[in-house]
């Protein structure tokens, strides 16, 4: 469930960095080490957790800009005359309605409606070689599962599913200064590039898919490039951002940024035991689209259940004290367990611990009195709030 990253441990358990030979390394690995990054095993990849203070990195993204290596994300290319039809069948969204150069947040579910992964699908510009091409970006931990499911579901469609995990490095520049930084390195029309859109271009002399997407709650860009160009691009972005406070950022602050922005993380808010409706994200399921899709029947029932008799509801919790709620901690009211924390962290922006939690519908209204989190035996008072915790001023 991806929760061991929040484990309780004894200080004495801290060990010098062990051998990481079995982990996969991104094209930027040597650069991270030269920057003094603390590395962590994330879904089998050796990734930067933080370079210095994770709080400072978080605040840099909120107020200036941050640079991320996200090369662990799983890219899958779907191409061919029936690429759109295949994705409409395999995923819950209406991918056929995505215009060229646009992107869509969507999910892939099992036949029983359980979420296999949440995805971003980019419809790439059409070329002579391929009339219709989509780039599906899966979570690193689920990339193989998504690839296998897409291949299996492609039977009978005139479409090719290609594992492109090794074909791309992914670098994100996020934060209010990111448009200025990127503009100094590209002639691409960034002003015309909307949120959840992408266009091919050249950044610092490097061919890239420039996407205006992210997982931080800020304006920003994700740049898909060939791995051999990653170091060159990272260094150019670092130099371009020098004067405006751009700092390299690790996965630790990416997690607190997405938590403040109320964005779900697979293995925490999303899992195979939940449908998109259970996760409060039923809007990604498009029943009105043409044709059948995997999970339609189960999801129709899940939609009805969620509207009439929701079991548990995803809410935000803000601490009154300073102890931090962690994934798996019980949410309590009147001495009874009424829910469970799925993600929790000290929020740099709010200056207090925050959490996302699934709680019984009766206790899910913002302002519900008497709700607490059982933090290692002590019931700490928490305020129930609507998500997100943070929304940027546009």
């Amino acid at each position: 469930m991806g929760r061991n990253d929040l484990a309780r441990h004894a200080l004495g358990d801290i060990r010098p960095m062990s051998s990481t030979e079995e982990l996969r390394h991104t094209a930027l690995d040597a650069l991270h080490r030269s920057l003094g990054a603390t590395m962590t095993d994330f879904a089998g990849w050796d990734m930067p957790l933080r370079y210095g203070s994770e709080r400072d990195e978080h605040n840099a993204v909120r107020t200036k800009a941050g640079l991320f290596d996200l090369s662990h994300m799983g890219e899958i290319t779907v191409t061919g005359p029936q690429a759109a039809a295949l994705l409409n069948f395999a995923l819950v969204g209406n991918i056929a309605s995505v215009g060229v150069g646009r992107a869509r947040y969507t999910m892939i579910c099992r036949a029983d409606g359980g979420i296999l992964d949440d995805l971003i699908v980019y419809r790439l510009a059409e070329t002579e070689a391929a009339s219709s091409t989509y780039l599906v970006v899966a979570n690193a931990s689920n990339a193989q599962v998504v690839l296998d499911a897409l291949v299996e579901r492609s039977a009978g469609f005139d479409a090719e599913v290609r594992d492109d995990r090794d074909a791309y490095a992914l670098i994100a520049v996020q934060g209010p200064e990111s448009p200025g930084i990127l503009k100094s390195l590209t002639d691409a029309d960034l002003d015309g590039l909307k949120y959840y859109a992408g266009l091919p271009g050249t950044v610092a002399g490097v061919p890239a898919l420039i996407a205006r997407t992210g997982y931080t709650g800020e304006d920003g860009f994700e740049l898909f490039v060939k791995p051999e160009h990653a170091v060159e691009l990272w260094q150019a972005l670092t130099k371009a951002g020098e004067g405006v406070g751009l700092v390299p950022c690790g996965l630790s602050c990416r997690d607190t940024l997405r938590l403040e922005a109320g964005m779900p993380l697979y293995g925490h808010e999303l899992s195979t035991s939940l449908t998109p409706f259970d996760a409060g994200l039923g809007r990604v399921v498009k029943f009105e689209k043409e044709g059948d899709f995997v999970g339609r029947e189960a999801l129709t029932e899940a939609a009805a259940r969620a509207s009439q008799n929701p079991p548990r509801v995803l809410v935000g919790l803000i601490a009154e004290g300073r102890r931090v709620p962690r994934a798996g901690y019980p949410v309590v009211a009147g001495g009874e367990v009424i829910g469970e924390v799925t993600s929790g962290a000290p929020s740099p922006t709010l200056g207090k611990p925050i959490a996302m939690a699934y709680v019984d519908a009766a206790h899910s209204a913002p302002g519900t009195a008497g709700v607490g989190v059982d933090i290692r035996g002590s019931h700490e008072p928490y305020e129930v709030v609507a998500l997100p915790f943070y929304k940027r001023q546009k």
Partner: protein, 125 residues
């Protein structure tokens, strides 16, 4: 990083100063502070309570983890660092100085505390 020569160390990454009038200062090492990341909450033992060498006596929370704090010696807690309670980031910025955690009137000290050089070797990759 350099571990001060005048301190002694536990394998659980606490440091202990030389006792003055029987009272020694306890903190966590820079190695441990770096491994934890930004410390956001410190639960320290109460003044007047007895701590036992090798037993848990508090906890430190960082962005990603919560860690038990162990006492390197046995004795009575005479003072805790209120500055750290109010601003836990002191543990990261000055682990050997302003980020000290508590003072203890030592009654018993384990024989296996490490010198700075021995602790360096213990934490070498």
């Amino acid at each position: 990083m350099s571990n001060p020569q005048q301190l002694r160390y536990s394998k659980e990454h606490e440091w202990l100063s030389t006792a003055e009038d029987g009272v020694a200062t306890v903190g966590i090492t820079e190695f441990a502070a770096n491994a934890l990341g930004d410390v956001v909450y410190a639960q320290l033992p109460e003044v007047g309570s007895t701590v036992t060498a090798g037993d848990t006596c508090g906890e430190l929370e960082s962005t990603k983890s919560v860690s038990d704090l162990y006492s390197p010696v046995t004795g009575e807690v005479t003072e805790v660092n209120e500055d750290v309670t109010n601003d836990p980031s002191l543990v990261n910025s000055a682990p050997f100085e302003g980020g000290w955690l508590f003072k203890v009137r030592v009654t018993e000290e384990p024989a296996d505390l490490l010198s700075a050089d021995e602790y360096d070797a213990h934490t070498a990759g």
